[in-house]
C-alpha cells in the first residue's frame, strides 16, 4: 500500500538496464530521461543487485523504517531546534531558521547563532519588521549571507501573503523567497509531519551506500533517482522523525570518512557494507578546484575611525561592510595594473570627498598607497576560495579636515552612485554586519596596534 501511494506505477520503459538507458538517451527522448529514477527504475536498479531484493517487499521496508526510527529515538543529538513547540506542534518558524542556517554550515557553529537569532527575532513578525542591516548583524560570521537576506525577505512574504502563518503545503512554501524544494520538504515534514522526503547531502550519502548507487549525486539523473528513492522509503506516518533520522544517521554514523558501521541500525540492509565498498560512495563528479586569491586590504584610519565601504555587488558577501581592498592575484595570476589603478583612483575620490586634499592625491597617487605600512597577513577560507589577505595601514593626518558628519552620504555621480561608505570605530566594526574575513583583519590590527614597524627606525 505504502509503496503505491508513494510513487504511482508508470509505464515500464523498453529497456530494463538502467546503465544502458543512461547512455542511449537521444535528444528527442528527453522525456524518457526524466523518467529515470521513477519507481520502475528503482526496482530495476535494485534487481540488478540481488542483496537488495528487500526493497520490493513491503514488510522489509517497514522493518527498515522501524529500525531506523528506534535508533533515532535513542541516539538523537539534543539540538536546540528539536525542542521547540508551538501548540503541541514543532514551531515551523524555528524549523525554517534552523534548516536555513544548517545549509552548508556545521551544527556546532549554528547552535549559538540559532539561539541568538531567536532571542533577537522570536517570531516571524519581529523578523519581518526588522531591517536588513540588523539581520545581517545577527548573521555576521555565519557565512553565505544571501541566506540571511532571503530569510528576511521570506518572513516579509509570509506576513504579507500568508498572514504571518507559515503554510504547510510544499508548493505554497516554495513560493516564499529562500525556500526551495529542500527547505520546503523539511518544513512540511518536520513541522507538519507531511509525507515529504527531505534530501540533503547526508541523505544522498546514506542512500548511495545503502544501494551502491554509482550515479553522480550532483547530476540531474542522480538527484532524481535519490529523491524518488528517499520518497519511496519514507515512513509516511512519521515523516518528521524519519527525515530527521535519515539526516542524523548521515551526520553522526554514516559520515563521509570515519563512518561507523558497527553503530548503524540499518547495516543489514546496506549493500556497500556487505561488499565493503562504503568508501566508493557517494560518487561525486570532480568538483571545481579551489581558487586562490590574494587581496590587499587598506585600513584607513582617521581619528580612531576606519573607512568601510558597502559591498553593493550581489556576489560574494553582498550588502556587507568591508574595508577597502584590491585584488592582487587570482590563482597565481596578477590582476592587470589598470584594474588596480582604477580602484585606487576610486578610493582617492572617496578620500577626497571626505576632505583629503586633492593636491596631495594628484602628486603622489601611487606612492601614497605604497607608503601604507604593512601590518601583516592573514588567511581566510571560503568554500571555494582560499584568500590570503595582506593588510596595510594608513593614518590620515589629523590636520586634514575630514567631514565625518557626511559619512553616510552617497557618492556623487558616475556609476558608483549606489556605493556607500562610512567611518567605523573599532567597536562599531565588531558589532556591525561585517563578514568574519574583515573581522579577522580588525583582530590583526588590534593585535599589532602596539607593535611598531622597523621602517620607523631605519
Amino acid at each position: 500500500m505504502v509503496v503505491h501511494r508513494a510513487a504511482p506505477k508508470r509505464q515500464k520503459p523498453e529497456s530494463t538496464d538502467i546503465r544502458k538507458k543512461r547512455t542511449t538517451v537521444h535528444p528527442n527522448q528527453t522525456k524518457k530521461k526524466q523518467e529515470i529514477g521513477d519507481l520502475e527504475d528503482l526496482k530495476y536498479l535494485l534487481r540488478e543487485n540481488k542483496n537488495n531484493q528487500w526493497l520490493t517487499v513491503e514488510k522489509e521496508i517497514s522493518r527498515f523504517q522501524q529500525s531506523l526510527l528506534q535508533w533515532y529515538e535513542k541516539n538523537q543529538r539534543k539540538l536546540p531546534w528539536r525542542y521547540t513547540c508551538m501548540e503541541g506542534q514543532p514551531n515551523p518558524y524555528h524549523v525554517w531558521v534552523s534548516e536555513t542556517m544548517l545549509q552548508q554550515t556545521k551544527v556546532a557553529t549554528v547552535i549559538e547563532y540559532y539561539k541568538n537569532w531567536l532571542q533577537t527575532f522570536p517570531d516571524i513578525t519581529s523578523l519581518a519588521e526588522s531591517s536588513l542591516e540588523r539581520v545581517n548583524e545577527i548573521w555576521a560570521g555565519l557565512g553565505y549571507y544571501r541566506r540571511a537576506k532571503l530569510l528576511y525577505e521570506g518572513a516579509q512574504t509570509v506576513v504579507s501573503k500568508f498572514g504571518g502563518k507559515i503554510p504547510d503545503d510544499v508548493n505554497l512554501l516554495q513560493s516564499i523567497p529562500g525556500i526551495g524544494p529542500y527547505t520546503a520538504a523539511a518544513i512540511a515534514s518536520i513541522a507538519f509531519n507531511r509525507p515529504y522526503a527531505v534530501c540533503d547531502g547526508n541523505v544522498f550519502r546514506v542512500l548511495s551506500r545503502l544501494f551502491c548507487i554509482d550515479l553522480d549525486i550532483s547530476s540531474t539523473e542522480g538527484q532524481n533517482l535519490f529523491k524518488n528513492l528517499a520518497q519511496f522509503l519514507l515512513s509516511k506516518e512519521r515523516a518528521a522523525d524519519y527525515n530527521q533520522a535519515m539526516m542524523e544517521l548521515g551526520a553522526t554514523v554514516c559520515t563521509p570518512k570515519n563512518f561507523d558501521c558497527e553503530k548503524c541500525p540499518v547495516q543489514s540492509w546496506c549493500s556497500s557494507f556487505q561488499s565493503s565498498t562504503q568508501r566508493q560512495f557517494p560518487v561525486k563528479a570532480n568538483r571545481v578546484r579551489q581558487n586562490n586569491e590574494e587581496i590587499q586590504v587598506y585600513l584607513i584610519d582617521y581619528a580612531d575611525h576606519f573607512l568601510m565601504l558597502k559591498n553593493v555587488s550581489r556576489n560574494l558577501l553582498g550588502n556587507l561592510w568591508h574595508f577597502p581592498f584590491v585584488t592582487l592575484k587570482r590563482n597565481g595570476n596578477c590582476i592587470p595594473e589598470d584594474e588596480k589603478l582604477s580602484y585606487e583612483r576610486y578610493l582617492f575620490r572617496i578620500l577626497h570627498s571626505c576632505g583629503y586634499p586633492l593636491k596631495e592625491v594628484d602628486r603622489s597617487q601611487r606612492s601614497l598607497f605604497d607608503s601604507f605600512v604593512p601590518i601583516g597577513q592573514i588567511e581566510h577560507l571560503f568554500t571555494h576560495i582560499k584568500q590570503t589577505i595582506h593588510v596595510k595601514l594608513v593614518h590620515l593626518s589629523t590636520e586634514i579636515q575630514l567631514h565625518l558628519e557626511e559619512t553616510a552620504k552617497r557618492m556623487d555621480g558616475g556609476n558608483e552612485e549606489s556605493t556607500e561608505y562610512k567611518w567605523f570605530t573599532e567597536e562599531q566594526v565588531e558589532k556591525s554586519a561585517i563578514s568574519r574575513q574583515m573581522k579577522k583583519v580588525m583582530e590583526l590590527y588590534q593585535r599589532q596596534k602596539k607593535q611598531q614597524v622597523l621602517n620607523l627606525f631605519f
Binding site: 605600512v373 604593512p374 601590518i375 601583516g376 597577513q377 595582506h390 593585535r447 599589532q448 602596539k450 607593535q451 611598531q452 614597524v453 622597523l454 621602517n455 620607523l456 627606525f457 631605519f458
Partner: protein
C-alpha cells in the same frame, strides 16, 4: 699555469664560492625561512650577504658571510640572487652536512647553481635553481651605541623564549647592572626569568655578560623572539643589544671572522 677548464669557468661565472661544510648554510636557512619567504642574496667582493624584512615589517634579518670565511671565493662583479627560501631549502635537503657546497651564478642572473661534493669526493650532485626578481627595500642600519648589551648562551635564550611563549604574547626585557629580566604577563598568569652575570671562567660558552650604559626596560613580541631562537644551532652564544625606543638587535656570530646573523625587532609601545 691556469688550465683551460678553469679559464672557462672564470669567464662563465661572475660569482663562485665554496664552503667546506654545507651545514652552515643549512642552519642559516633554517634560521630565517620561517620569517622571510623570498630574499636577495647579495654577492660582492666582500662576501655574501642578505637583508630582508618579514612580511609585517616588524623584524629584519641581516646575514653576512665574509669572503675570507669561504674555502674559495671569487666575485668578478657584484650580483644579486633573488631566491625563494622554500625552494632553496628543498635543494639543500639534498646536501649532506659534511658535504662541501659550491655556489655559482653567471651574469644572466636567471639561475644559480649548487654543487654538493661528499668529503670522500666520490659523490657529486649538481642543482640549478631558477632565480626571481625580488623588490626589496634595503634599509640602512645605523651603527648604534646601545645602552645595554647582554651576552648569554644561545640555548638559554631559546629556552627562555619557548618557556615564556606559552604564557603570553609579549615579553618585557629589563636590563640593570645586576641582572637581565624577562617578564611575561598573559591571560593565564605571569612569569619571569632573571639571569645574573656569571663568572664561570672555565666554560666561556656558559657565561652571561652584561655591559651597561644605562638601564633599559622594553617590550617585544615573543613570537618573533622565538623565530630568532631558530638560529641557536649557529652559535653557542647570542648577544642582545638594546636601547630605549630603538629596535632590539639579536646577534649570532658564526665564529672567528666568518660572519654573523643579526635580527632586528621593533619594540612594542606600552
Amino acid at each position: 699555469m691556469v688550465s683551460k677548464e678553469e679559464q672557462n669557468l672564470a669567464t662563465t661565472f661572475q660569482f663562485e664560492a665554496r664552503l667546506t661544510q654545507a651545514s652552515l648554510i643549512k642552519k642559516i636557512l633554517e634560521a630565517i625561512k620561517d620569517l622571510v619567504t623570498d630574499a636577495n642574496f647579495d654577492c660582492s667582493a666582500e662576501g655574501l650577504s642578505l637583508q630582508a624584512m618579514d612580511s609585517s615589517h616588524v623584524s629584519l634579518v641581516s646575514m653576512v658571510l665574509h669572503a675570507q670565511g669561504f674555502e674559495m671565493f671569487r666575485c668578478q662583479r657584484a650580483v644579486s640572487l633573488g631566491i625563494n627560501l622554500a625552494s632553496l631549502t628543498k635543494i639543500l635537503k639534498c646536501a649532506g652536512n659534511d658535504d662541501s657546497i659550491t655556489l655559482r651564478a653567471d651574469d644572466k642572473g636567471d639561475k644559480a647553481e649548487f654543487v654538493f661534493e661528499s668529503q670522500t669526493q666520490d659523490r657529486l650532485s649538481e642543482f640549478e635553481l631558477k632565480l626571481m626578481d625580488i623588490d626589496s627595500e634595503h634599509l640602512g642600519i645605523p651603527d648604534t651605541k646601545y645602552s645595554a648589551v647582554v651576552e648569554m648562551p644561545s640555548s638559554e635564550y631559546r629556552r627562555i623564549c619557548s618557556d615564556l611563549g606559552v604564557m603570553g604574547d609579549t615579553v618585557r626585557i629589563s636590563v640593570s647592572k645586576e641582572s637581565v629580566k624577562f617578564q611575561v604577563d598573559g591571560d593565564i598568569g605571569k612569569g619571569s626569568v632573571c639571569l645574573h652575570p656569571s663568572s664561570v671562567v672555565d666554560k666561556p660558552t656558559e657565561v652571561v655578560k652584561i655591559s651597561l650604559e644605562e638601564p633599559v626596560d622594553m617590550i617585544f613580541s615573543i613570537r618573533y623572539l622565538n623565530f630568532f631562537a631558530k638560529a641557536a644551532p649557529l652559535s653557542d652564544t647570542v648577544t642582545l643589544s638594546l636601547s630605549k625606543d630603538f629596535p632590539l638587535q639579536v646577534e649570532f656570530k658564526f665564529g672567528e671572522q666568518m660572519g654573523y646573523l643579526r635580527y632586528y625587532l621593533a619594540p612594542k609601545i606600552d
